[in-house]
Amino acid sequence: MAEFGIAAPSVKVAGGKSATATGKSLSVVALRKTYGDVVAVDEASMEIAAGEFVTFLGASGSGKTTTLMMIAGFCEPDSGTITVGDRDVTRLAPQKRNLGFVFQQYLLFPHMTVSENVAFPLTLRGVPKAEIRKRVGETLEIAGLSGFGGRKPRELSGGQQQRVALCRALVYRPPVILMDEPLGALDKKLRDQLQVEIKSIQQELGLTVIYVTHDQEEALVMSDRIAVMRNGLIEQFDTPRELFERPKTPFVADFLGAANFLPGRVEKHTDEHTLVRLDNSSGLLKARRHQLASGTEVKVAVQPGRLRACASDDGFCTGTVETATYVGTLVRAGVRVDGGQAPLLRLEVPAGRGPVAGERVGITADPDDVNLFAGEQGG
């Protein structure tokens, strides 16, 4: 407990994890929750390491919040187990779990000052007064709130209130801190700023954080790993890079990468590549090697930023640029592929070298950026 490493940011080690991690590991096994006939969370399992920042990412109704609520103890799972460190907390009341929770609506106690709010969990734990004062002061300082201790929550801005809520959740060094869209009520600029702040506090103190959001950018910026959830299922639980570069399902490719999808069929394999013949196109598309039998119907997924326009006979397909929108550093182009049906193929290319509307182009992509999904996988 004494190693609350604020004064020693030098403990930071490679990978951004603190050597004196205060966080503990958390494991969820086959967690299931139904509401009537609706399966809110379906057999969710994951292992979260101590000091890891994990985000549950998904649209509303994906089960991300329900999973978080079950971990917090606000809602009871039908089956499955939740373990914090090596303690089974599945059936414990929320107040017995010793977790931290940061709510979207801050939920500061309006009748208490900022200091009293932050001190509240410590007084519950019978921490001596002098110690409370010291730790509240330290925690407020981390969050850049020194001097605000005497104010009431309503005298603070939304961002400041959420910082106080964060302090209140981390002042008692819970093994895991849960955050339910904590920045959802703030404007974009403040959100960006607090993302960085929360991330740096988490790294500095070695906190284990489980974060729920529907904002992909937020998830990518903050997380060590992201669990992409849909319809109560974890689609993929991986690092942001893996999710982005190697999506396991068309849904993940679409949700995170906003990928273009093209239907095709596996033609043959070389040592390093899988060659795909696109429907309605004579060209062969080179993808990195996938374990798919020749003749398999596939969906080809490539992110707009990973497609390139080239001379019309160099690409795997050709088309006509229908729209080209200049958006600062980028040009967003929509290409009508020859012989293909709608929708337009979306490209993002650096401005200046961008294609213009009406131009005939070929389309190409680095084989490593091409993901293939077997036909029967849902999208």
């Binding site: 107040q95 931290g100 106690f109 509240f120 959740a169």
Partner: protein, 295 residues
């Protein structure tokens, strides 16, 4: 309109303001007349009456009389019974409002109706209802006939009065507290639980402070209302439960003693006003805190 007058030159603005004032006076006239005739005049004549000796000279004799001997003990009885009523209606009101605020909206609405509807029945009728219920052969004593010491004396003593007045005050406290409780964000309680607070701690350190101002004003309100209560104490109490309103009635109707009654009326009025000021102070304390917090 405000912006218009603010930007207009000084002279027309003055004119407008004065015309507005004249129209305003015209509108206010009926209210002023109404208040003068039905409020200010009676109060001042009562005040005058309480200060007038039988020979027409000014005196404080009636006040001295009202604040000594039996009259003083009646005043204390009034304060005591009102305090007991306030505490009990607060306790029962709290429990009831608490239960209702946890119901689903439809059921909560029905429950509130059940609480409030009896209030539309005349207090006299309700008091007689209680007398029938609490008498020696009443429902309560019949039900408890097996208990040692039955029948219990539930009427014509302080218990009877307090039962009666508390039931009369309950709708007020329930209504007030229900409103306050609905305003409490239940998620705050969940937040406290997430930090490790048990139910008792959550209640004591989060819930109670949040509903505290409401409790104070509900308690004071039922205290004030009880001070001037007449029918219930007169019918359900014994001679020892004579309250000030009953005494005033006796002086006027039986002893034709208007001056003494006036003095006691003024004392009651002062007590009530003091209570109201207290309510206002308590609620404005809450409001100013809110205002400060909002800015």
């Amino acid at each position: 309109m405000a912006a218009l007058t603010a930007t207009a030159p000084a002279r027309p603005r003055k004119l407008l303001a004065s015309r507005k004032t004249r129209v305003g006076i015209l509108y206010a006239l009926p209210v002023v007349v109404y208040l003068l005739v039905l409020f200010v005049y009676p109060i001042f004549s009562t005040l005058l009456l309480s200060l007038k000796n039988t020979d027409g000279s000014l005196t404080l004799h009636w006040y001295a009389d009202a604040l000594t001997g039996v009259n003083l003990s009646v005043l204390f009885t009034t304060l005591r019974i009102s305090a007991e009523t306030a505490v009990l209606s607060l306790v029962f009101g709290f429990v009831l409002a608490q239960a209702i605020s946890r119901l689903k909206p439809l059921w909560a609405g029905l429950a509130m109706l059940v609480v409030v509807v009896p209030h539309f029945v005349s207090a006299l009728v309700r008091t007689y209802g209680w007398i029938i219920m609490l008498g020696d052969k009443g429902l309560v004593n019949e039900t408890l006939a097996w208990a040692p010491g039955a029948p219990f004396q539930l009427l014509y003593n302080e218990l009877g009065v307090v039962i009666g007045t508390t039931s009369m005050m309950l709708p007020y406290t329930v209504l007030l507290l229900y409103g306050v409780m609905r305003g409490v964000d239940r998620r705050l309680l969940a937040a406290a639980a997430s930090m490790g607070a048990g139910r008792v701690t959550i209640f004591r350190r989060v819930y109670l402070p949040l509903v505290g101002p409401g409790l104070a004003s509900a308690g004071l309100l039922s205290f004030i209302l009880s001070l001037g209560y007449y029918i219930t104490p007169a019918l359900m109490g014994g001679p020892n439960q004579t309250m000030i309103a009953t005494l005033i009635n006796q002086q006027v109707t039986k002893e034709n003693q208007w001056n003494g009654a006036a003095a006691q009326g003024v004392i009651l009025l002062v007590l009530t006003l003091a209570g109201l000021l207290l309510v206002k102070a308590v609620s404005s304390l809450g409001a100013s805190r809110k205002k400060r917090n909002a800015s």
